[in-house]
Amino acid sequence: MQKHTFTISLFVGIFALTVLAQLGVINQYLQSVIMLMGVNIILSTSLNLVNGYMGEFSCGHGGFMCVGAYVTSVVTVLCFSKNHILGAPLLPPSMALFAFPIALFAGAAAAAVAGLVVAIPSFKTRGDYLAIITLAANYIVISAIDNLEIIGGPRGFMGMNAAVNGMEGIVDIPWMLLWVLFGTLFSVWLLRRFVSSTLGKGVPAIAQDEIAAEIMSVDTNRMKLIAFMLSSGIAGLAGGLFAHILGYVNPHSFDIMKSTEVMVMVYLGGMGSLSGATLSAVLFTVLLEVLRPLEIWKWVVIPLLLILLMQFRPEGIMGNKELSDLFPKLKKYYSFK
C-alpha cells in the first residue's frame, strides 16, 4: 500500500488544487504564486543535479531557462497567434491542447542542446573554471536574444496567451496551473529516477572523486554530458511554463539575477537532496511574497536569514538527505520513486 500512497496523494492533491482554483476558492493571485512555486521547484531540483549531486558549480541556469522559454513561446506563437514571421496562425485554436506539450518538449530539447555549450568544456575543466564557462553561457544566450530582432530583441516577445486561451476554449479549467503541477511532478520524478538508477549513480561518483570514478569504469564524460543536458533540458521546461504563465518574455528576466536566485534555492535546501530543493523552492517563493510589504527591507531580511541558516546549518535545510532519511517513520507511509 505505502508503495502508492504518495503517488495517489499527489494526484489527489493536484486534482483538489485544480477544483479549488476552478471554483474560485483559490484566487488568481494564489494560483500565480503556486505556479511560480512549481517553476521554482523545477529550476532548483534540476540545478541540484549539477551543483548538488555532481558537485560542479553551474551559475548560468537562467540561460537555459531562457532558451526553453523562447523556443516554446516561438512554437506556440507560430502555431496559434497572428505573428509577423509567418502571418496567420498555423493551427486552429482547438489544437492547442495537443500542441502545447509538444511545444514544451521542443523548448526543453532546445535547452538540452544549449546545455552542450557547458557540457563539452566540462570534459576538461572543472570547479571555478567551469563556473566561469556557465556564467559565459548565460551571457551568450541573453546577448544572442537581444540581437535577434525577429523575436523582439530587448523589447521582449509576446502572443503566447493565444495558446492558453485555445486550451481554455476547449475545456474551461485553469490549464496553466495543471500544466505547471504536472511539469513539476514530471521533473522531480525524472530526476529522482535518474539519480537512483544504476546509470545515475555515476553522478555522485564524479562528485566524490573523478579519477576514482573513471577507474571504477564510470564513463565520466558521458555522465557529465547526460547530467548537464538533463539539467538544462528541465530548466528549459521551466522556462516554457514560465513564459506561458506570464504571456510575455523578456531576455533580461533570465539574467544572472535569475541564476543566482536558483542557486540560493539549491544551497538553502541542501546539496544533493531533492526534497530539500523542493522545500527550499517553496519556502523561497513564499518568503518573497510574504515579505513583499517590507519593500526595501525585504532584501535585508532574506539575505540575513540565509546568513543565519548558513551559520547554524551550513549543509542547508536538509543537508544531503531526503525527507525520508531524516524521518525514517515517514517511510511507513510513503515511498517516492
Binding site: 493571485y29 530587448p154 523589447r155 510575455y248 518574455v249 523578456n250 519556502l283 510574504v290 513583499r292 526595501i296
Partner: protein
C-alpha cells in the same frame, strides 16, 4: 539537536504559510482603494520612489480635505503600494495581489515597460483598470481596453528630437549611440534614424553605434562617431550612461552638440555629468525650470517635502493618479461590488477626452494612449532643465 532544528524549521515554514493564507482580509466601505505596482527595489529604485512620493503627496492633499467627493459623498482614499522588484514575474504577482487580495479599484504602474507589459496583461484579463505613468512601449496598451498610460510613445518622441535638432543645430548629418540591450533606447534610436534619413536622405546618419547596458567605456564607438564627423550626436540613453558618454566624447575631441531623450531627465544627471552636460538639449515630458501654474506648484511642494526637484516619473505618476481619481468622480457613484466599480471606472476613463495634467494636456482618442505635447529642454549653466520649445503632434 538535529531534530529540534528540524522542528523549528518546520514550525517556521508552517507559520510563513499560515501568515500567507491570512493576508489581505477586510474592506472598509467608505474608502476607495487604489493600488500602486512600483519598482521600489531592484534595478531602478529611484523611479519607484519618485512615484511613491508623488502619490503620497496627492493622498495627503485629498484626505486632508476630507476625501474624494463622488456623487455628493466624500470618500477617503487609500493607496496600497506593492513592490515589483523591477521583475516581470513579480509585477504580475503584485498586480494579481492588488486585484484579488487588496481589492483595489484601479492600479497605477508599473512604470517600466518590461514590467508594464505583463502586468497590463494580468490587469486586462482580470478586468481591472491600469494606468502606467511612464511606459513608452506600444505593446503595453495594444488591444487592451483596460490599460491606459500617461506618457507619449517613442514613435512620437523620435521625430521630435530629429526635427528639433535639424532646426536648432542646422544639422545635415547625425550620429546615434544607443544601448542595444535596452528596448527603450534601441526603439528610439531606430525611429530617430528612420525619421532623419527620411528628412535628409539616405546615409545622413553617418554613424549608428550600440553598446551594452553595463558598459563603462565607450571609446571604441565614440572614436568611430568622431571620425565620421557628424553635426550632432543623438544619445537616447539612461542618465548614468549619458554622463559617461558625454565626458568621453569630449576627451576624444568632439566639439559639437548632443541631443537626448526623456531618460536624461533625472535629478541625478547633473551630479554625475557636471559642467560637460551644460548647454545640451533633450526632449522630455515636462520642464521643471521655468514651469508655471499647477506644474510649478507641484514642483515647489515636492521639492520642499522631499528635498529634490521631481523628475518626469513623479510628475507623470501625479497625472496618472489624478486621471484615475477624476474617472472615479465622473463615474458619479461608487458601487459596493468591486467588479461593477472597476467597470464604472474603466468606462469613465475611456470617456475622458481631454485631461489637463501637469505634464501638459492629454487627449485620448479611444486607444488608451494620450496624444500630448513633448517639450525640449536645455541644460542651463546652473544645471537646471530649462524650457526651450514645446512640440505637439499634428
Amino acid at each position: 539537536m538535529k531534530k529540534t532544528t528540524m522542528k523549528l524549521l518546520v514550525a517556521f515554514l508552517a507559520l510563513a504559510l499560515g501568515a500567507f493564507a491570512l493576508m489581505g482580509c477586510g474592506k472598509d466601505s467608505d474608502t476607495i482603494k487604489i493600488g500602486f505596482n512600483l519598482e521600489l527595489t531592484g534595478d531602478i529604485p529611484k523611479v519607484g520612489e519618485a512615484s511613491k512620493f508623488a502619490a503620497e503627496m496627492l493622498k495627503e492633499d485629498i484626505n486632508s480635505k476630507g476625501g474624494l467627493e463622488v456623487g455628493g459623498k466624500k470618500y477617503k482614499v487609500e493607496f496600497v503600494y506593492q513592490d515589483n522588484e523591477a521583475k516581470a514575474e513579480s509585477a504580475v504577482n503584485a498586480a494579481l495581489k492588488l486585484i484579488t487580495q487588496d481589492n483595489v479599484v484601479a492600479i497605477i504602474g508599473p512604470n517600466s515597460s518590461k514590467q508594464a507589459i505583463p502586468a497590463g496583461g494580468a490587469c486586462n484579463d482580470n478586468q481591472t483598470p491600469m494606468v502606467s505613468p511612464w511606459s513608452t512601449n506600444p505593446d503595453t496598451t495594444k488591444d487592451r481596453p483596460w490599460v491606459f498610460r500617461a506618457a507619449f510613445l517613442d514613435p512620437f518622441q523620435g521625430p521630435v528630437a530629429a526635427n528639433f535638432a535639424a532646426k536648432q543645430f542646422g544639422a545635415k548629418t547625425s550620429a546615434v549611440l544607443f544601448d542595444i540591450a535596452n528596448d527603450y533606447s534601441k526603439g528610439l534610436a531606430e525611429i530617430f534614424k528612420a525619421e532623419w534619413e527620411k528628412k535628409s536622405g539616405a546615409g545622413t546618419v553617418v554613424a549608428f553605434e550600440s553598446h551594452g547596458t553595463k558598459d563603462q567605456d565607450f571609446s571604441a564607438q565614440l572614436t568611430k562617431i568622431v571620425a565620421a564627423n557628424p553635426d550632432f550626436i543623438f544619445v537616447p540613453d539612461n542618465y548614468n550612461q549619458v554622463a559617461l558618454i558625454v565626458k568621453q566624447a569630449r576627451d576624444l575631441g568632439y566639439k559639437g552638440p548632443f541631443m537626448g531623450s526623456d531618460a536624461w531627465g533625472s535629478a541625478e544627471l547633473m551630479t554625475l555629468c557636471g559642467k560637460e552636460c551644460i548647454g545640451q538639449f533633450f526632449s522630455t515630458h515636462y520642464a521643471a525650470a521655468g514651469a508655471q501654474g499647477a506644474t510649478k506648484e507641484f514642483i515647489d511642494r515636492y521639492n520642499a517635502k522631499y528635498k529634490y526637484v521631481p523628475d518626469d516619473v513623479a510628475a507623470l505618476t501625479w497625472d496618472a493618479t489624478r486621471l484615475v481619481l477624476q474617472a472615479i468622480q465622473e463615474a458619479g457613484k461608487v458601487e459596493k461590488d468591486i467588479k461593477a466599480e472597476r467597470k464604472l471606472v474603466r468606462d469613465a476613463l475611456a470617456n475622458i477626452k481631454e485631461f489637463a495634467g501637469i505634464t501638459g494636456t492629454m487627449k485620448f482618442a479611444g486607444t488608451g494612449d494620450p496624444n500630448k505635447c513633448a517639450v525640449v529642454v536645455q541644460i542651463s549653466p546652473e544645471g537646471k532643465f530649462e524650457f526651450k520649445e514645446s512640440v505637439c503632434p499634428q
